[in-house]
């Protein structure tokens, strides 16, 4: 048994209560411990990746209870990669929250942040469907606190919507798990995989209902059309550094779809064949289209990036829904890219919003406008999928993988047209925010009262270097993803092979205890 596997869950689970109970009134110490915890998490994630990249599936039996009776944590290439992405994303976000002072605008930011990490990482590592539900709840309850961090009437209202939507999702999750348990008598994923394949074909009605309910739950998390309505208002009204962290939350949904529909309801399982692969591509394409249109139509910078997140989830899910090893490896590359690009844009959007308000409008140029514009430009071309950044490579891989599909012409058309719309949308927003603002400043409106007001307002303090450094970290991440796309794709291909060979996973879970 490999004890490292439980470490990335234990570490934030210990840091968070320590911050609440001991460091409650010491913001500086909270910051130090939060950053130290995140750095430690990164170290653990790297260790896990090194162990998993050998190709062996490793398990950790909680309380030494043997599967399928106890809960197991499973480390394979996919979960190691997702844990590493989470840790890599968390570090810049926590640095930004400190640098921009967001963590002073309400209480318990760092504790909630650590709990959120615990939930996300737990969801990636668990090998038990009910435990997945529990970790979903852990990450959700932390996200409710983070989402309403700082307060304010609109944020709280958006928070209520977000919580209601997710509570409905949780209820649906329980219905799905109950149905699956009633049919199979187990909730361990490996055991489910064995039993689902064994059920006689005429008794699968309830099983198929359960599988589709489960898909709906994950589609809510992944913001797939028509279940995406919660995302724009929630992300745009959340503190934007938190929204940057939430970039990983939609990926949790995508991960769960990928895991469940390769391991349990895999493409070879006749009992549930076609449940996901029939309509998920269409929903994913619609998601991409609505995301691109939303980018074009957004009048607020927060919503602009939120729709960008939806569009990138669309591209990602197109790739996942093809369910071939090649498409899955493209999806894995795109997951990494989309997480960092979305987070980067949310952080840049926060810089802009703090200076200019949340409307995309020409007000007056902000301090450091050149730097912020450059960062926005990097984020926008990454998100839109233009060369030279990783978004281009990612989309290329997805389109290449789509050639195996029968209606690849349609998929290509949707991806290419929506990329174009995305470019136009980001160009429009960038032009208004960064260029028109100069025009407005140098050709002030004739109204003299208005002029005076502009002059009297004190210039906002420039942000400390930490805030920018964290955005640069994300930018470097994207650049590294582009430069090292060869090794990254190699890893993704090996991961996809492992995913489409579920016997390895199942064997590891069942014989893990004897070793």
């Amino acid at each position: 048994m490999n004890h490292w596997i439980v470490a990335p869950i234990i570490l934030p689970a210990l840091v968070a209560p320590f911050i609440i109970m001991v460091l409650r009134y010491h913001l500086d110490l909270q910051r130090i411990f939060s950053v130290a915890g995140t750095v430690g998490l990164l170290g653990i994630a790297l260790t896990l990746l090194a162990q998993a990249s050998g190709g062996e599936v490793m398990i950790y039996e909680l309380g030494n209870w043997q599967a399928p009776f106890g809960i197991v944590l499973v480390l394979d290439r996919l979960s190691a990669m997702m844990v590493l992405i989470t840790a890599l994303l968390a570090l810049p976000v926590v640095l930004y929250a400190i640098g921009s002072g967001w963590d002073t605008r309400g209480r318990h930011f760092h504790a909630l942040f650590q709990f959120q990490l615990m939930g996300v990482i737990g969801a990636f590592l668990t090998g038990d469907a009910f435990n997945l539900f529990v970790f979903f709840e852990v990450l959700l309850i932390a996200s409710y606190g983070l989402m309403t961090h700082g307060g304010g009437a609109e944020r709280l209202k958006a928070g209520v919507q977000y919580v209601v939507y997710n509570l409905l999702g949780s209820t649906l999750f329980l219905f799905a798990l109950g149905t699956l348990y009633a049919v199979t008598g187990t909730l361990n994923m490996a055991d489910l995989a064995v039993r689902v394949a064994e059920i006689p074909a005429e008794d699968t009605a309830l099983l198929r209902v359960g599988a589709v309910l489960l898909l709906l739950v994950f589609a809510i998390k992944a913001a797939v059309l028509p279940l995406h309505f919660w995302l724009p208002a929630s992300y745009a009204n959340a503190p934007l550094p938190v929204a940057a962290l939430f970039a990983i939350m939609t990926k949790v949904g995508a991960y769960a779809i990928l895991r469940m529909y390769t391991l349990v309801f895999g493409p070879e399982v006749a009992n549930t064949a076609g449940l996901a692969s029939d309509w998920l591509p269409i929903a994913a394409m619609a998601t991409l289209a609505i995301g691109a249109l939303g980018i074009l139509g957004s009048r607020q910078i927060g919503r602009l990036v939120a729709f960008g997140a939806i569009a990138s989830m669309g591209t990602l899910l197109i790739s996942i829904s093809l369910f071939t090893p090649q498409a899955t490896s493209a999806a894995l590359y795109y997951i990494v890219h989309s997480t960092f690009a979305t987070a980067l844009l949310f952080l840049v959007a926060d810089l802009v919003m703090e200076r200019q308000g949340r409307e995309i409008s020409a007000v007056k140029p902000m301090p450091q406008t050149g730097l912020i514009a450059a960062l926005f430009f990097i984020g926008a071309i990454a998100m839109a999928g233009m060369p030279p950044l990783s978004g281009f490579i990612g989309k290329l891989l997805v389109m290449d993988a789509a050639r195996s599909s029968t209606d690849y012409a349609f998929i290509w058309a949707v991806i290419l047209i929506s990329s174009f719309v995305t470019i136009v949308g980001f160009a429009r927003a960038g032009t208004v925010i960064f260029w028109k603002s100069h025009d407005a400043a140098y050709n002030p409106e004739p109204d003299p009262d208005n002029d005076d007001e502009i002059m009297k307002e004190p210039a906002p303090e420039p942000y400390p270097i930490v805030a920018f450094a964290s955005i640069f970290l994300l930018g470097i991440g994207l650049a590294a993803l582009t430069l090292f796309s060869g090794p990254m794709m190699e890893y993704a291909q090996q991961t996809a092979e492992q995913l489409y060979n579920p016997a390895e996973y199942i064997n590891a879970v069942f014989k893990g205890g004897q070793e």
């Binding site: 529990v134 209820t171 348990y181």
Partner: protein, 116 residues
């Protein structure tokens, strides 16, 4: 008994969904609670219904027993839904107090983004 239980789950779910579609937060929260009751009863029934049977195996004699796992799952689900309901009541209360309005949708003014 199956019919009774299925009816109960169905009625609870229907009432919950009806209430969730209301426009004020209070009925929505009530609807969510009803839905969680429905799902708890449903989870309980997934281990098959048995009357007067203990949830443990008896090693001395061969008597009927009921599946203990759904009961454990229901306990977890009850605790989680209880906590979540408390959270949403608090958030909805503070949203109501800060905007003097417990409508659940964002009004046009919210979207326009007046920081007043």
């Amino acid at each position: 008994m199956e019919l009774l239980l299925a009816t109960a789950v169905g009625v609870l779910t229907a009432a919950g969904i009806f209430l969730i579609l209301r426009r004020r937060t209070f009925p929505v929260i009530l609807g969510l609670s009803l839905l969680t009751y429905a799902v708890n009863v449903f989870l309980f029934a997934t281990g098959r219904l048995a009357v007067n049977a203990p949830a443990v195996l008896n090693k001395y004699e061969d008597v009927a027993y009921t599946d203990p796992l759904p009961q454990a799952l229901v306990l977890t689900a009850i605790v989680i839904s209880f906590g979540m309901t408390a959270v949403i009541v608090m958030i909805a209360l503070s949203a109501y107090l800060s905007s003097d309005d417990d409508r659940i949708d964002m009004t046009a003014q919210d979207d326009a983004g007046d920081d007043a």
